[in-house]
Symmetry: C2
């Protein structure tokens, strides 16, 4: 990550947030880049790293404060501003995946300038804003999609990328969210792109490639999500995937944080994804279902995976629990 313009290791800041996806994602996939954590509440997510405020973290070698939590909507809680100022004054850069622009908070901008510290605002798409062309690109593409947010799209994409690469298949993980970008060191925060240009940004994210190369693209949101489906659909169209992998938590009955919005049945949801994806790739197909069984005991998880494999005629696996070896031949079309 150091080569990507960020100074590491990170002091991982989680505020008072209990489920901090960026913090846990970066810690899972780049633990060596994290040297300490800073929690504003005893209830906040505990990564098991040493606790340190900025001055102490600097002594342990920290070079940047990573904002590891994103409140709903990506705004900046005013209560965090003193914490960010303390970090800047202690000599840390700030790495932020929030929508809110830190550089537009004048105290933060002034402090960063005075102390010569960098503000890396990775959710801002600095690239050209272009509408999508729809042009078919060379190479193969896999996109993870889901029945909700937080069901394992990023984890599944990373696990599939690693597994393909381990088999000697040329593969690039394409990050579309701030956590994935921190892990990969590049990508586009697709939910921060102006809606007219989302599909165009997704086209730019996975450019022409050799015919046997796979881009594994991190999915976002869900097509039947009341707030985020626009992001999902623009990414789906611009990615023009050859292969979709459905990510699903079988214990969830409602969209997370949206009580009263049911998760629709998988076959219906998969048919909808295919109908929409065919706009830019008529040959798109589902290759697997990736289950998040973290809330189930192992026997139940195995039974559900077996039942779903039979029901959908596709490999159904939990990449974290069972691995995904049996799915790979289907994904690359060599079953």
């Amino acid at each position: 990550l150091d080569g990507k313009g960020f100074r590491t290791p990170f002091l991982v800041f989680v505020g008072e947030v209990r489920t901090a996806k960026t913090a846990s994602g970066v810690f899972d996939w780049a633990p060596d880049e994290c040297c300490a954590q800073w929690r504003l509440s005893p209830q906040a997510l505990d990564l098991g790293l040493p606790e340190a405020r900025p001055a102490e973290a600097v002594k342990r070698g920290a070079r940047s404060l990573l904002i590891g939590a994103a409140p709903l909507g990506g705004g900046l809680p005013a209560s965090w501003i003193p914490a960010l100022l303390e970090a800047i004054e202690a000599g840390l850069d700030i790495v932020s995946g929030l929508h809110a622009r830190l550089s537009e908070i004048s105290e933060i901008a002034v402090a960063a300038r005075r102390h010569g510290r960098a503000l890396h605002e990775i959710r801002r798409d600095e690239g050209e804003t272009k509408i999508a062309s729809g042009r078919r690109r060379t190479g193969r593409r896999l996109l993870t999609v889901g029945t909700d947010c937080g069901v394992g799209k990023k984890y599944t994409s990373l696990a599939i990328s690693h597994a393909l690469r381990a088999r000697g298949i040329s593969t690039t993980f394409r990050a579309t969210g701030q956590t994935g970008m921190l892990i990969a060191g590049s990508g586009i925060a697709i939910d921060a792109v102006v809606s007219d240009f989302v599909a165009g940004a997704a086209e730019r994210l996975s450019p022409d490639a050799p015919e046997d190369h796979w881009d594994v693209i991190e999915g976002q949101g869900a097509i039947l999500h009341p707030a985020y489906a626009a992001v999902t659909l623009g990414l789906l169209h611009g990615s023009q995937p050859d292969v979709l992998v459905m990510c699903h938590d079988p214990t969830r009955t409602e969209i997370a944080s949206f009580p009263g919005f049911p998760i629709r049945p998988l076959p219906e949801t998969m048919e909808l994804y295919l109908a929409l994806a065919r706009v830019t790739n008529p040959d798109v197909r589902f290759a697997a279902v990736s289950l998040n069984t973290s809330k189930l005991e192992e026997p139940d998880a195995r039974r559900i995976a077996a039942d779903m494999t039979a029901a959908h005629g596709l490999p159904c696996f939990d990449p974290l629990r069972f691995g995904l070896a049996e799915a790979l031949p289907v994904i690359i079309g060599r079953r």
Copy 2:
């Protein structure tokens, strides 16, 4: 429009563009606000207004230059900059619906400041950026949707608003594009909203209203459009429409400007819209099909409308050619 912060009448600028939707839309619906046109090429769209450069237009009473054309993608052609400077120097404000920010072109910003002229950049959403809540709002909502761009969604929405109001039904036209906003004097340029917030912006556009009030919301893009579907879906979810009206050009076989991308059959497209719209309003229904028959002779247009009425069991009309009286009872659910 004068009350909305714009100084009118407009000098309508079309550059060298042949199909200038903003120019023709504003001229159709607010002709009294347009006093002259300025074309940079004899091939450009001709509204039939007197030709005038800025100095001459000011003598005819013009107060603002309206950029009446939006090149693909909403960028600012560099060739227009001298024209805009000439307008500012002649004493005109600028009203722009482009994505490109005029105030970030330093010569334009400097000239506007020096001459005390306003730059109205109406495509920038200055409101709060909030994710959608999905909360059901009071009042009734109609949204126009389509099989493509430029098939009559704005015209149909305006025509339905006028017809409902003429029947004494409390109605508000909700504009979602720069042309509609110029006609209505308010609205949100939905395609300029960051994708994470599109559905939230659409919620804000049509707030709670009395139970018998209708918001008629201008649709954007098309759900099977390779570039703009993200805009369409966020607007669909945030609008939580009770009623959809499908807009369609029966002579079109491919998406405009996207050769090789077919227009899918109407029933399939309508079923897809309903499946997605049910996320935020399970009772959503189609009430009519609005045809753009401008490329057909009258007998053919009448025959196609009759055939489609029979096929879909819904009133099918061309609002410009035949009016829409027979559709109104179905729209408001009093057939």
